[in-house]
């Protein structure tokens, strides 16, 4: 069970959080101008990497803030968490 560092509250148990999937998928600004393929890409396509994954978490039973985490999907190690809007750390960073 993970121990997750909420950038607002500090280290907390996984049970306080819920995962919200891949991060940094910006919603297109002019959606009407997108082709169906482009819209589908935004809506459904995911990188789903085996390894470093940038993902959103919600501190649901805490500050109720969303934040981002850089987590390895094999070892489950979280190498960084950062606030929404902050620059993601590079993947290799420990």
């Amino acid at each position: 069970m993970f121990l997750i560092e909420c950038p607002w509250c500090g280290l907390r148990d996984e049970t306080e959080f819920s995962c919200a999937g891949e991060a940094h998928i910006a919603r297109p600004l002019e959606t009407e101008k997108l082709s169906d393929e482009e819209w589908a890409d935004y809506l459904f396509m995911r990188s789903n990497p085996k390894g470093a994954h940038r993902e959103q978490w919600l501190h649901a039973a805490g500050c109720r803030r969303y934040f981002n985490a850089l987590r390895d999907t094999v070892t489950y190690k979280i190498s960084a968490t950062y606030k929404i809007g902050e620059t993601p750390p590079s993947e290799g960073k420990k």
């Binding site: 995962c19 891949e22 589908a40 396509m45 789903n48 990497p49 085996k50 993902e55 094999v74």
Partner: protein, 416 residues
């Protein structure tokens, strides 16, 4: 290769079982095949088997990075049923069910398909509406099943708690008599042996590291055992389809999540059917060996680690004890995890890809085992002809562009 039967067993017993042939050969990979199947799980092996049997393609190979059946085939809770809501799913799973019903004989390998029936429980009024809707649809699609009352459930499963005092009392269930369980490993081995008998090369410890293409068409793969050429490649790698898609240069609408399961110590027969509850998140049956086999819910994060988080197990066991309070003193022997590839509509993706000659069969989520023969059967058609079979046409990748989703979980909320 000898046929398996009681007679061959006796004959071999006399010779101290020294003359059994290998169930499948372990050949060195050739440089080129007519088709390659990447992934030696149940679905991949079934695909190879039906490619050979139904389409006469025998110069083919199955490439498995580890040992066959080592992924979700050997990690699931072995439930087989076909009572899906939407026509598209129902037809596909029912095809699979029909193949299951003769599979041991077809493969000459006892996969122990046990049609002991499957109950899908309802715990609130909306569950019951959904159950009615699904059972009605099933019947019109020619799939057996009926709605049963709590009292009927209690008669069939005396150990279950239908007490209205529990948190989410059981209000009824759908029952599919033809549903049941099978011996998961045997399915992989049976298909492997069957395919091997047609001359299919099953190559283990052979991990694909790159997919080669020219002018938008596949030409072969690089593997840990060298380059292998083929103009048709079927990818059937539950738990790793995004990884293979990335090799081929596209993305999939898939997320890979941990799914956990657990077994009790072996006990004498007590559960003679399969009970699934989506509302309280617990699925239970009993293996022929005597273990209670219990499926847990999916973990919310992406994970390739073949393990999930403890609270999921905790909650699942609570759900089982809620349904079966007598099991509190039975002990959990072992727990484990698999990797399930889930699509947004909880339905598989079977068909062509942006790369010519490259076909994907993935996204079975938590429910792939039951589809093993049917999945292989339709995918073999797709790989052999280059075009989807009518049964898998609705499950194409482009449904995510057109919006033609088959929303099994959105609709009936039925667990796989």
């Amino acid at each position: 290769m000898s046929k398996y039967s009681i007679f061959s067993l006796v004959r071999n017993a006399i010779s101290y079982h020294e003359n059994w042939a290998a169930a499948w050969r372990s050949p060195e990979p050739k440089q080129e095949y007519d088709a390659l199947i990447i992934g030696g799980g149940g679905h991949g092996l079934a695909t190879a088997y039906y490619l050979a049997k139904e389409h006469g393609m025998t110069n083919i190979a199955v490439l498995e990075k580890g040992w066959i059946g080592g992924g979700n085939t050997g990690r699931n809770t072995t439930i087989v049923r076909s009572n899906y809501l939407w026509d598209e799913s129902a037809h596909l799973y029912e095809k699979s069910m029909q193949l299951w019903e003769g599979l041991s004989q077809d493969l000459n390998y006892n996969v122990m398909f046990s049609q002991r029936g499957v109950y899908n429980l309802g715990h609130n009024l909306q569950d019951m509406r959904d159950i009615q809707r699904r059972v009605n649809a099933n019947r019109l699609n020619g799939i057996d099943g009926h709605v049963v009352s709590p009292e009927e459930i209690k008669r069939a499963i005396p150990e279950i708690n239908i007490d209205q005092g529990c948190r989410y009392p059981i209000l009824g269930a759908s029952f599919q008599p033809r549903g049941g369980v099978a011996r998961h490993d045997a399915v992989a081995w049976g298909f492997a042996r069957g395919a091997d008998r047609y001359g299919v090369d099953i190559i283990q410890n052979c991990e694909v590291t790159a997919i080669r293409q020219e002018n938008g068409a596949v030409t072969g793969v690089e593997t840990t055992r060298g380059r292998i050429n083929a103009k048709k490649i079927g990818v059937v790698v539950a738990g790793h389809c995004s990884v293979l898609a990335e090799m081929a240069g596209f993305r999939m609408p898939i997320e890979s999540h941990p799914l956990q399961a657990l077994v009790s110590e072996p006990i004498k027969p007590i559960i003679n059917t399969v009970i699934m509850s989506n509302a309280v998140h617990g699925y239970i049956s009993q293996s022929d060996k005597g273990d209670l086999v219990i499926g847990a819910g999916i973990d919310g994060y992406n994970g390739y680690g073949q393990r999930g988080s403890f609270p999921t197990i905790e909650h699942t066991v609570a759900a089982i004890c809620e349904m079966f309070p007598i099991f509190k003193r039975v002990r959990m022997n072992r727990q484990w995890g698999g990797i399930v590839d889930t699509a947004p509509d909880a339905c598989p993706i079977i068909g062509n890809t942006p790369v010519e000659g490259l076909y994907f069969n993935c996204g079975w989520g938590t429910g792939g085992f039951k589809a093993t023969p049917g999945s292989g059967w339709v995918f073999a058609h797709n790989v052999a002809t280059g075009e989807p079979h009518e049964l898998n046409r609705p499950f194409s990748l482009d449904r995510f562009v057109t919006g033609f989703l088959i929303d099994e979980h959105g609709a009936a909320g039925v667990a796989h």
